[in-house]
């Protein structure tokens, strides 16, 4: 016992030999004016918060403060007697490294405790979980979580008729099975022993959108069973597409693949008609989709559609095709200007009612200005000009205006008499928006590819399509995995905005539920639920993408 006290006494003495009050004060208090002010300020705030919370919740405040004090004691003891444990050392380095840090730690502990206890009180202690007790007069002081169970059908599938629910479940099950297959197929052991499995899983994934469409939107049967015209039209399209790819030397022609491609369409057509005739999947009005189902459909649909469109726009923006030369552009622009000035302007001028309209009557003068900028910025390259204008115009306006425009303006621009469903209008508007952003991401990826890669491809004699197909795009897309994952999450999150143009996605349906008598005004519960749901899905996707990136990275280098 005496030896122990002796050693402690010794350590204490060596500590005080090392320790210098002057330095301690200088480091923590008087080092600079700002430090002093900062410490004084943080002391004031901490004391204020402490006193305030002591009044409202004395028990917890004292306990937390005591824990904090114990932490300080451990650090001081560690310093004084050299009794540092790894825990106390961690405390010292991370939470209690200086006077101001120590105070900040207490402040944050108290504030977090207050917020957490507030949420806890509301969400659990005083909350009811009974789905039958959600009416306004039966609610308790806290949250009424019963609404989540009570309105589960609306939240999940919106206004979709209950007899179709099994089709949604079927789609979900299909996706799960596909994911399972590809998960197994990418295991290292399986990858080597059963390489074909990966091919199968990719094929199945490519077919999945069609299957999902059949499940969720249904098929309408058209007489006769085999319509020769449809069959031939499809065949011609397939052959033309193949011929195009062959012409640009992207694919090679060999009998087996020709046979497969040509046979694919008739077989698919027959299967399609067969399923349609059984009537297992009667058509569903797409505007009936709602809730989580609609949100997920939007996210997936828009991401799949905007991806190729975005790549096209990005390539268009970078296209260095020979532009239309100056000696063609200027004469045409000048002739058009003179012609329109002599035909359109006089009439507009004479009928104008005010100076604004008089100025507008001179609109043909804009043509030379446009021609000047067209030549100066794009060297007559129309593909580039179109892509740039399209991308920048779309990115310049908020998504919600585009969505609204799609819904409101669609009837103006479709062939007269054809009504367009809100769902499709929103898909179009959203896809255009998403593609413009995707295009900028892809452009970033393309810019990251060194110039030498393009030159090497050129010098080996690849044509433009081959160059992008085999060399540039594979590299660019690999670089793009993290930003693309970000974009997928972004699309998923922003899909909540469709609620503002009257779609019944998660947010839209929740707004409907809140207006419903039985669940009237249960906003906080439902919005909090959505908040958590979006958070879990988004962080899940970003976590998965990071994993994917790591794995792909390991495979190649």
């Amino acid at each position: 016992m005496t030896t122990l006290t002796n050693t402690i006494e010794e350590r204490r003495k060596t500590f005080f030999k090392r320790f210098n009050w002057q330095y301690f004060l200088q480091d923590n208090l008087t080092g600079s004016r700002w430090l002093t002010i900062w410490v004084a300020f943080i002391t004031l705030v901490t004391v204020g918060v402490f006193v305030g919370q002591l009044g409202s919740a004395p028990g917890w405040t004292l306990i937390l403060t005591a824990v904090w004090a114990v932490g300080i004691l451990m650090v001081v003891a560690g310093e004084l007697f050299g009794l540092h444990t790894s825990f106390s050392r961690w405390l010292k380095d991370n939470l209690l490294s200086s006077i101001s840090n120590t105070l900040v730690t207490l402040l944050i502990i108290l504030l977090v405790a207050q917020v957490v206890s507030g949420i806890w009180q509301w969400g659990y202690v005083t909350a009811t979980f009974d789905s039958t007790r959600t009416a306004p007069d039966l609610r308790s002081e806290g949250a009424t979580w019963g609404v989540l169970w009570g309105a589960r059908k609306l939240i999940l599938t919106g206004t979709l008729a209950p007899e179709h629910t099994w089709r949604v479940i079927l789609t979900g099950a299909m996706v799960f099975v596909l994911w399972l297959i590809s998960f197994i197929a990418t295991r290292p052991t399986v990858k080597t022993s059963m390489g074909y499995l990966q091919r199968i899983s990719i094929t199945l994934w490519l077919l999945a959108p069609i299957a999902s469409y059949i499940f969720l939107a249904g098929l309408e049967y058209h007489e006769p069973f085999i319509n020769i015209r449809t069959l031939l039209t499809g065949l011609v399209i397939v052959v033309a597409f193949m011929a195009l790819l062959w012409f640009f030397k992207v694919i090679k022609l060999d009998p087996v693949s020709i046979g497969l491609w040509v046979a694919a369409w008739p077989i698919g057509y027959v299967i399609w008609q067969l399923i349609a005739r059984t009537g297992i999947f009667p058509t569903i009005n797409v505007d009936e989709w709602g809730g989580l189902l609609l949100t997920v459909i939007f996210a997936i649909f828009v991401n799949i559609l905007s991806f190729p469109l975005g790549i096209l726009l990005a390539l268009g923006r970078r296209a260095d095709v020979q532009g239309i030369p100056v000696w063609i552009v200027w004469p045409i622009a000048l002739i058009a200007t003179v012609y329109l000035l002599s035909t359109s302007t006089p009439e507009l001028w004479t009928t104008s009612r005010n100076n604004v309209e008089r100025a507008l009557a001179l609109w043909p003068l804009l043509i030379p200005i446009a021609a000047y900028f067209y030549q100066r910025s794009f060297q007559g390259n129309m593909v580039q000009a179109f892509s740039v204008l399209f991308i920048e115009l779309i990115r310049g306006v908020p998504l919600i205006t585009l969505l609204f425009m799609a819904i409101v303006m669609a009837p103006f621009f479709t062939a007269s008499g054809s009504a367009i469903k809100n769902f499709w209008a929103v898909i179009v508007g959203y896809t255009i928006f998403s593609a413009a952003y995707m295009a900028e991401l892809v452009r970033g990826g393309l810019q990251a590819i060194p110039k030498g890669q393009y030159e090497a491809a050129d010098s080996l004699g690849f044509n433009v399509l081959q160059k992008y197909r085999f060399i540039i795009l594979p590299q660019a897309l690999r670089i793009l995995i993290p930003p693309l994952a970000g974009s997928v999450i972004g699309t998923f999150k922003s899909s909540s905005l469709v609620a503002l143009v009257g779609m019944f996605d998660l947010v839209g349906i929740v707004r409907g539920i809140i207006g419903n008598g039985q669940w009237l005004g249960l906003r906080s519960e439902l919005y909090a639920f959505l908040f958590v749901l979006y958070f879990v899905v988004s962080s899940g996707v970003s976590w998965y993408s990071r994993r994917l990136e790591k794995r792909m990275g390991l495979g190649t280098r």
Binding site: K249, K252, P450, G452, Q453, E455, A456, D458, S459, L460, G461, F462, N463, Q466, F470, I471, P474, Q475, R478, T556, R557
Partner: protein, 256 residues
């Protein structure tokens, strides 16, 4: 290393003919009228200070850069804006870059066979067989299934040479092939180049390797300020240069 089988000898005497080739970058004139004839099987080393236009010149020969005036005729085909001619000439002319420019997402084998399969339309087997031959000849057959990132600089450059040669070009352009290499790796690449030079290929090489020039070049060309200043036999060139500008240049690099 085995002597390499050169391409079949063409009956056109001058395989590369350049007449008064000009090239501008905006206001800056990079090539100020270059005239050059290269015979089949000739090995030419191009020297010159940096910025003298020597790289630009050989990049014009396979249309990585576009010349604006004058004529370039390769193996009887004039390099014009005609798409067919450009494609034809790119098949005849192979290029090896300073930075190797291997495709990092493909294995060595895929790097080499991609162009033969898709541009030359060979079967995969034929392409891989030839690729393997060339890999063996440049001394790294065992690296076929690796990715470029796993190879050393010298190995990468040898893969790039094999990739170029598998396309069976008649003319080889080297754009400073050893400048990006560590000193100990330069030799392995130069050995391959030397072997190719003796194997009957027509070669135009921009390089600072004087030893290589002395040993295998049929002619040495000295470029300065976008013009050919001197053309000479290597022994003459290094010992007894005709032009003052050349002497100055040689002084600077040899006594450094």
């Amino acid at each position: 290393m085995a002597m390499m089988q050169g391409p079949s000898v063409s009956n056109v005497e001058d395989i590369v003919v350049c007449r008064n080739v000009h090239k501008w970058y905006g206001e800056f004139e990079a090539l100020k009228g270059v005239d050059l004839d290269v015979k089949t099987g000739e090995v030419i080393v191009i020297l010159g200070p940096s910025g003298s236009g020597k790289s630009t010149f050989i990049r014009c020969l396979n249309r990585l850069e576009e010349h604006q005036e004058g004529r370039i005729i390769i193996d009887g085909i004039e390099l014009t804006h005609d798409l067919r001619n450009i494609n034809e000439i790119r098949r005849e002319v192979g290029m090896v870059f300073q930075q190797f420019n291997l495709f990092p997402h493909l294995t060595v084998m895929e790097n080499i066979t991609l162009a033969p399969i898709h541009v030359r339309k060979w079967s995969r087997e034929r392409a891989e067989e030839l690729a393997m031959q060339w890999l063996t000849r440049v001394g790294i057959p065992e690296q076929a299934e690796k990715y470029p990132g796993q190879l050393s600089g010298g190995q990468q450059q040898r893969v790039a040479i094999a990739r170029t040669l598998t396309m069976q070009p008649r003319i080889l352009l080297f754009d400073e092939p050893t400048s990006a290499l560590d000193p100990e790796m330069i030799k392995e690449v130069l050995d391959v180049m030397r072997d190719l030079a003796r194997g009957g290929y027509t070669i135009l090489a921009v390089t600072h390797e004087m030893g290589f020039a002395r040993e295998v070049a049929d002619r040495v060309i000295f470029f300065d300020a976008g013009q050919i200043v001197e053309t000479n036999h290597p022994s003459e060139f290094f010992t007894n240069p005709k032009e003052e500008r050349t002497k100055l240049f040689l002084n600077q690099i040899l006594h450094h």
